[in-house]
């Protein structure tokens, strides 16, 4: 799927369930999709999330002692895997912490399927938690003096790093 298609899917997911407002609660989105995310303790501290689809249903597990913003992104990321990569097949995907930072990369032909998959899940998570139109709208509404990454990150309840990447991606960062 292209980046635009993934973003469209994320936006439609929010709109279809009446959740297109800020801040997006990824757990509520998941429950609307029939998935209940669970806390877990993983054997490897680098693991931050896991998505599994079985005949009985889908499961999302996220690291219990992650911070609020990290949990938000993890749930959104795992939802991305569920909707993009585990749509029908019985499979599972384990996400590591490093995978959550693949948004800043630019896709390349040399990428492995796994790396591409993590990038796509991040594109989905970014659009789900920071819908482009809503980010632009808030960015315009905030007085220029208060227009900082931190302010935007607090509104959308994401990390400063994630918001910085998003603003840059939307071409708003330079305007500030």
């Amino acid at each position: 799927m292209t980046k635009e298609e993934i973003q469209k899917l994320a936006k439609e997911t929010l709109i279809n369930h009446g959740l297109y407002s800020v801040p997006v609660n990824p757990v509520v989105v998941a429950s609307k999709l029939g998935v209940r995310p669970m806390h877990a303790v993983f054997s490897d501290p680098r693991y931050s999330g896991l998505t599994a689809r079985r005949a009985e249903g889908a499961t999302i597990l996220i690291k219990e002692n992650d911070s609020l913003v990290r949990k938000r992104f993890s749930v959104a990321h795992e939802l991305g895997h569920l909707l993009l990569h585990l749509r029908s097949g019985i499979d599972e995907i384990i996400t590591t912490e490093a995978d959550l930072f693949r948004l800043a990369d630019t896709p390349s032909e040399s990428w492995t399927p796994e790396r591409r998959r993590e990038y796509e899940a991040n594109v989905f998570a970014a659009e789900l938690l920071m819908p482009a139109e809503l980010v632009r709208s808030y960015w315009e509404q905030i007085p220029p003096k208060e227009r900082t990454i931190d302010t935007m990150a607090n509104i959308f309840q994401v990390s400063d790093a994630a918001m910085a990447i998003r603003l840059q991606d939307l071409g708003l960062f330079e305007h500030g």
Binding site: V27, A40, R54
Partner: protein, 161 residues
């Protein structure tokens, strides 16, 4: 957000069912409770904290009112007992005076018995006042306040980014 891993038929069992037979069993050491919407929403967390504080305030208000009513009742009882005690002491002294001046004649054992009984009764009343009107202070509410404040602080503590 508790540990529900041992609860039969709980969410953890559902996960075990999904993960059974796969290599994910070795990846997941322990499944805990479900992620609640408030676990990933700072506003909901603050609202939870606010509700908790509000509930605590109501509880303390009710406890305060109860204490005030109890104190009022105790004061009334204490006043009645003190009046009875005063009247009794007056009666004892009057009887003692009358016996002493010879205006009232009773067998020796009646006089002694009367004084002894009056003394025992006075002591008993003092005991009632001390023991039942001023019971040991309960620390239950203070403990509840401490626990709630600690829980509230945990709820609203800032997250690391």
């Amino acid at each position: 957000m508790g540990d529900h891993s041992d609860r039969k038929g709980g969410p953890a069992d559902a996960i075990r069912g999904v993960l059974a037979g796969s290599e994910l069993g070795s990846v997941v050491i322990r499944e805990l409770g479900p992620v609640e919407p408030s676990d990933v929403d700072a506003i909901l967390r603050l609202r939870d904290s606010d509700e908790r504080v509000s509930r605590l305030r109501t509880l303390i208000g009710a406890w305060e009112e109860q204490q005030r009513e109890e104190r009022k009742l105790r004061r009334t009882y204490a006043l009645v007992l003190i009046i009875i005690l005063a009247l009794e002491l007056i009666a004892i002294f009057a009887a003692f005076f009358l016996i002493g001046t010879g205006k009232l004649t009773t067998p020796r054992w009646v006089g002694e018995g009367f004084l002894l009984a009056a003394f025992a009764q006075s002591t008993g009343l003092v005991l009632v006042v001390v023991k039942y009107l001023f019971p040991e202070r309960s620390s239950d509410v203070l403990q509840l306040v401490k626990t709630s404040i600690a829980a509230g602080e945990k709820l609203i503590e800032p997250d690391e980014r």
